[in-house]
């Protein structure tokens, strides 16, 4: 701990102090006060912290950011952020604020989509009890920061037995330079409900902006949630993301993290499997170029017996980009008959690209099936030559092999239009 680090934190907090939450109900103010206290004891992580060993956050914290104090009513053309052919409820967040005017929500029976700020004001019963209940405000600085000053976000509430056919697409947009935005997403899936959510993080300008978002997912018995996170910010942008998931019995949670662009990205994914018969899928595709740094930290905590978890992360790193994969699976003593599989494969396209891959298993039960593995390699030159010798250009050959490489991760995305969109994005990336 040095004085400079303290100063950086103080500076960041000082600018965020301008945000005024004094008209919020007491429970929210208490939450913010607790976060403030927690922050007093938390410091910016350095590479000496094991959890942050491969990711330095200097690029993020050595900057000064502006904040937006309230929702703007400026019109924005969102058409370029929409996913072609996707029929979805579209929820728009701009610079940290819910924009009902830009959103298109035709809520189905049993589904409620609202501004988080609004439901806090209304002292919604579930929000009052559950907001911040699983997020690691006490131990994680960026989560604490979010809890202290998230401006708005999305609350998705699924009633009992509500099976929602139409996906929900959250567009999390930054359109101002050097801006910090803190958004919070809460998903409550009641018994036997099902939903598919896509959240795209995109920008219009937004150069040197920093998105610090936290999502909390509460899955009741036999519910199913698929969350597709698309990170696609152009130019210099930073993002730290924390997803916290709580699964009760027989629930099914799938998260697909697709990182297409981003200068410095850290995804922290924590899943507590607190019931029997659960299924958990965590998949990712990350494409690094230039000096991008993309870090995926995942943790699945199996606390109860008879659960399955599957994890497939595929990375393609070009230029001088750096990837980090740290996947941890805990199988606690009571979690007998757990099947946990974890796989991380990487292709380095240049000699300067780097991957730090660390799959970890900690098993305390004695009747389980677990495996983990990681591969790091280059594109197979022999295969490239074979394809070229048939008349396929080098670029097309590389493209074909990359498409083949990411296939088993991409196949986990169950929304066809989204899958096609990701496929096209990858295709375009390696076409030139």
């Amino acid at each position: 701990m040095t004085t400079t680090e303290l100063t950086k934190k103080d500076m960041l907090l000082e600018s965020l102090n301008e945000l005024d939450f004094s008209n919020e109900p007491q429970f929210a103010q208490d939450l913010r006060t607790n976060a403030k206290k927690a922050l007093e004891n938390l410091e910016f992580p350095t590479s000496r912290t094991e959890y942050w060993k491969y990711t330095r956050i200097g690029k993020i914290i050595n900057k000064t950011y502006g904040i937006q104090h309230e929702a703007s009513d400026a019109n924005i053309d969102i058409s370029s952020y929409l996913i072609p052919g996707l029929d979805a409820d579209v929820v728009v967040l701009v610079n940290g604020f819910f924009r009902a005017d830009l959103s298109t929500i035709e809520t189905a029976n049993g589904l409620k989509i609202s501004s988080l700020k609004k439901v806090i004001q209304e002292s919604d019963g579930f929000i009052k009890d559950h907001l911040g209940a699983i997020a690691k405000t006490e131990t994680e600085l960026f989560t604490a920061l979010n809890t202290l000053c998230f401006t708005d976000g999305v609350y998705i509430d699924l009633a009992k037995n509500a099976v929602i056919e139409k996906p929900i697409h959250i567009l999390n947009i930054t359109n101002s330079d050097q801006l910090i935005s803190n958004t919070r997403t809460i998903v409550k899936a009641h018994d036997n409900s099902a939903v598919k959510i896509i959240e795209s993080f995109v920008n219009l300008q937004g150069e040197e902006s920093f998105t610090n978002n936290v999502s909390e997912f509460f899955l009741n018995p036999n519910s199913q949630v698929e969350y597709n996170k698309i990170q696609n910010k152009e130019g210099n942008s930073y993002q730290i993301s924390n997803e916290q998931v709580y699964q009760r019995k027989d629930s099914n949670f799938t998260i697909n993290t697709i990182t297409l662009q981003g200068t410095l990205i850290r995804n922290n994914l924590n899943i507590e499997v607190q019931g029997e018969g659960c299924e958990t899928n965590l998949n990712g595709i990350y494409l690094g170029e230039a000096k991008n740094h993309i870090d995926n930290h995942t943790m699945v905590d199996h606390l109860k017996p008879n659960c399955n978890s599957n994890e497939v992360y595929k990375g393609i790193l070009d230029d001088q980009s750096v990837g980090v994969f740290n996947g941890k699976v805990f199988v606690r003593r009571d979690a007998q008959k757990t099947n946990a599989f974890q796989q991380n494969n990487n292709i380095l396209l240049t000699d300067d690209a780097v991957i730090n891959s660390k799959p970890e298993l900690e098993i305390y039960a004695d009747d389980v099936k677990c495996s983990h593995g990681c591969t790091i390699g280059q594109l197979d030159d022999e295969a490239l030559f074979y394809l070229r010798a048939r008349g396929v250009s080098k670029r097309s050959a590389i493209n074909m092999m990359i498409t083949a490489f990411v296939k088993d991760a991409l196949d986990r995305v169950s929304v066809p239009a989204l899958k096609a969109y990701i496929d096209t994005e990858i295709d375009t990336r390696f076409k030139n």
Binding site: F385, Y386, A389, R390, G391, S393, K394, M401, T403, A404
Partner: protein
């Protein structure tokens, strides 16, 4: 069609080809035979454009173009085809899709329109029947999980799909049983015309019972040391390569 003049090539600074001269005209079948390590596979690799080989001297003209400076894909698009001795397995890349890309990029190269889906499928059906390749195999990942014989038949299937001007079969017979050999040879013979040519590289005479060469060349120590008609292959089969070596060393 193909003119090779005084071709020298190295790999890792070791000279493998030491002055090859060869001329092939449309409608001809040439067999190149020779003992292990004589440079047969190096010759096919250099012609197809493998980058790890360094051409130190000589010229190769194909249909009037100097091909040594061309990329492997451009050589293929100009009509050169290499059937690999060891076809590569490429998991996840569909045999059919990749062939469609190859055909369309070749067509674009020649300023032609892309093949229609209907035309393409009809062609796949016809050409896979030619080499008795199960159409299920044709649509799987490239060579993945194929038997040795299926891989070689897939090579000839691809050749049939691409209709090259010059096909080089690099030890296509190695590891094949008689039935597979007959199927492969039948495919090659059916594709033969007065406008195209074939180079058959082999260690054994057996394949030449099925694909009858017009010329047989013996490659030894990086040079063509003897050229003759199809009877030369029989002579080699009978006497082995030792007499050639002795003749050369004298």
């Amino acid at each position: 069609m193909l003119k090779i003049k005084d071709l020298h090539a190295n790999i890792d600074d070791k000279e493998i080809l030491k002055g090859i001269n060869l001329e092939i005209k449309a409608g001809e079948v040439h067999a190149i035979m020779g003992p292990n390590g004589s440079g047969k596979s190096t010759l096919s690799a250099v012609l197809a454009g493998r980058e790890e080989y360094e051409v130190t001297k000589g010229e190769v003209h194909f249909s009037g173009n100097d091909i040594l400076e061309m990329s492997p894909e451009d050589r293929a698009r100009e009509g050169l085809f290499l059937a690999f001795q060891y076809p590569i397995e490429i998991p996840g890349v569909s045999n059919i899709n990749f062939l469609k890309t190859a055909i369309n990029e070749t067509r674009a190269h020649k300023g032609q329109d892309a093949i229609t889906a209907k035309e393409f499928l009809a062609k796949v059906k016809e050409k896979s029947a030619l080499v008795e390749l199960d159409s299920k195999l044709a649509s799987r990942s490239v060579n993945e999980g194929f038997s040795g014989g299926e891989k070689k038949r897939n090579e000839i299937f691809q050749m049939a799909m691409l209709s090259p001007k010059l096909a080089i079969l690099d030890e296509t017979d190695s590891g094949l049983d008689i039935d597979a050999l007959r199927i492969v040879a039948n495919g090659v013979n059916t594709l033969k015309s007065k406008d195209n040519a074939t180079i058959v590289i082999t260690h054994y005479q057996r394949l030449l019972d099925y694909i009858i060469p017009d010329f047989v060349h013996v490659l030894y120590n990086g040079k063509i040391v003897k050229t003759g008609g199809k009877e030369l292959a029989l002579e080699l089969e009978e006497k082995g390569y030792d007499w050639i070596k002795e003749e050369v060393e004298l």
